[in-house]
Amino acid sequence: MSATATAPVAKKPTVTILAALAKAYQDIFSEDPKAITLGEDLADPEGGGIAKITKGLSTKFGDERVRSTPISEQAIMGAAIGASLAGYRPIAEIMLMNFTTVAMDMIVNHAAKLRFMSGGQTSVPIVIRTMTGLGFGSGGQHCDYLEAWFAHTPGIKVCAASTPEDAYGLLRAAYEDPDPVILIENLPTYFAPMSFELPDAGHRVPLGKAAIQREGTDVTVVTYARMAVNARAAADALAGEGISVEVVDLRTIAPWDRETVLASARKTGRVLVAHEAVKQHGVGAEIAAVINEELFGQLKKPVKRVGGAFSAVPYSKPLENAYAPDADVLASAIRDLLR
């Protein structure tokens, strides 16, 4: 549950997703000598990463375990895979999600498949951290949500957090998972104070478990990442209109929590699936299809989907604003479901 849900008016939140991720790194590296990490610019001589999540890490844990790399995404992923085959627990940072496209062979053909193709003799317990998201006016190659590409790949798990607690707990759980996990981080919401305290070292968010971030009875919104932030805002706004919205943040996009989603859909009978990624052929299609398969006849309305436009992410501000749903668009989609 998001801490924003219960925020007393007087006190302002201070904890960001960024700070939670930074703490997760510190805690992981303090606890496990098998933890290693690599990526562009992430050691201290290079500034501790573009978002400074790994700041201080190489100084504290040494530059053999915390390595800046050349701009070579295939080499980064390959090194992570190889080290994991030999018993290490690499966290590989691919700076921005669009840059995973030049490492797809390593991720899809190797990280995701080696366990199966070796008949379980080898495994690839790596975490791939990558940042993305609309809002910086960076245009078509720096902010795509490509989660569907990975969700479509057997052998890799896909996660995204929308609160500092979940960011911390997912990174820790992903790190401990015996299989490869890609953690998609929303860069524009990194810096927004959302919580009051940093999670403690024992906090975990089990993979495959959704969170009900707002309880409601009229409409279920199934979502994740930035769109969960928007959905919470929409739910709060609609509460004023007497509309009760249940916000289900998947947190793990693949394999997703069918039980929680179906239970909520059964309860409300109306489902909106929302993501920032292009709507067509997106994760929302899979979720809508499963709800349909399981609950045909029990729904009050067909499952509705909203998502990014079928275009490259545009540069110009009005276009960028129109590209993916904000809280207002979600609110009107929710109202539509109640018509």
Binding site: G82, S84, G87
Partner: protein
């Protein structure tokens, strides 16, 4: 290269590995033709000396990332024949339970960590194994093998640069068999050689006759010694020739007949055999009885494979993740 660069016992041992590797290829082609096993098969016939030398020098804990044309590398590294053949046959007793097949053979107990069907992808992963060796403060080395065609794909270059700037114990073993699928080496590879590219990555690059045991032995030992001593990676370009087409069954009409027959006439395995006898390192009888033993081992492995059970459809739910996935 002086032919006495390696001692007699080593030379004999290299021959024994090469003979096994050669016999295994001959059997594979026979078994495919007989219809007993249907598989995509990339014959390595003609390239046996390279992995025989590597196998001679490497330890079990040294790791190997190889490619679809890699069964020679793996036998050189000690892949057990039963598990190998059962995997080729797609049986549950195969090393990968029939889930990997000829292009994804894996056998970690002998350091055989990855076999990839993607050209060039052995190299980036080998770097990770090399990094792990150093983190372990072990002197084990990490080998990746690939072909001449692979020297033109980006992954290899990213990997060579990273290995060099991180000074990793990675050894890049390019087996230049002069063809990439149906395309000749000269036509698609700028610069006339691959070893020269190492200079751009500030690592030693050595072109050797991969069919010459002594030359191969010296170059590979030096690369291994460098890597074990923490002095960084080496690129070896091992010149060789692939006797048959890219995949077994292609008509290899793109290979000039004279080139092919000249290479086959210089077949490195019988040449080594003849030398062992001429130099009185082994007798005809000794070698013949060893070769008969090999055939018996392969007989046993093939029989084991063919008698083994097929996987069950339900096996698809296992090994995708550590935990089984829902039906």
């Amino acid at each position: 290269m002086p032919s006495n660069a390696i001692d007699n016992a080593t030379l004999l041992s290299i021959y024994k590995r090469a003979a096994l590797i050669k016999a295994n290829d001959e059997r594979a082609r026979k078994v495919i033709l007989s219809g007993q096993i249907a598989m995509v098969y990339y014959s390595y016939r003609g390239q046996e000396i390279i992995p025989s030398v590597m196998g001679e020098i490497l330890r079990d804990d040294d790791t190997l990332c190889t490619i679809y044309r890699g069964i020679h590398d793996m036998i050189g590294k000690g892949f057990p024949l039963r598990e190998l053949w059962a995997e080729l046959a797609g049986r549950r007793t195969g090393s990968c339970k029939g889930k990997g097949g000829p292009m994804h053979l894996t056998y970690p107990p002998r350091g055989i960590m990855v076999t990839t069907g993607i050209v060039g992808s052995s190299a980036p992963i080998a770097n990770g194994l090399a990094w792990a060796a150093r983190l372990d403060q072990s002197d084990r080395v990490s080998i990746c093998t690939f072909g001449d065609g692979a020297s033109n794909i980006g992954a290899i270059h990213e990997a060579m640069n990273l290995a060099s700037v991180w000074k990793l114990p990675t050894i890049f073993v390019c087996q230049n068999n002069l063809f990439a699928e149906h395309t000749t080496f000269e036509k698609m590879t700028a610069g006339g050689n691959i070893a020269g590219r190492a200079a751009g990555y500030a690592m030693p690059g050595v072109r050797v006759n991969g069919n010459d045991p002594a030359e191969m032995y010296l170059a590979f030992s030096e690369a291994v010694a460098r890597a074990r001593a923490g002095e960084g990676p080496t690129l070896l370009e091992c010149m060789t020739f692939r006797f048959f087409g890219h995949t077994f069954g292609d008509d290899d009409s793109y290979m000039p007949k004279e080139q092919k027959s000249a290479a086959m006439a210089a077949d490195p395995v019988p040449a080594l055999r003849a030398r062992l006898i001429a130099d009185r390192i082994a007798t005809e009888d000794e070698l013949a009885s060893f070769e008969a033993e090999i055939e018996a081992q392969i007989d046993d492995a093939v029989a084991f494979a063919l008698e083994s059970p097929w996987p069950e459809p339900d096996d698809l739910r296992f090994d995708v993740f550590e935990k089984e996935i829902a039906a």
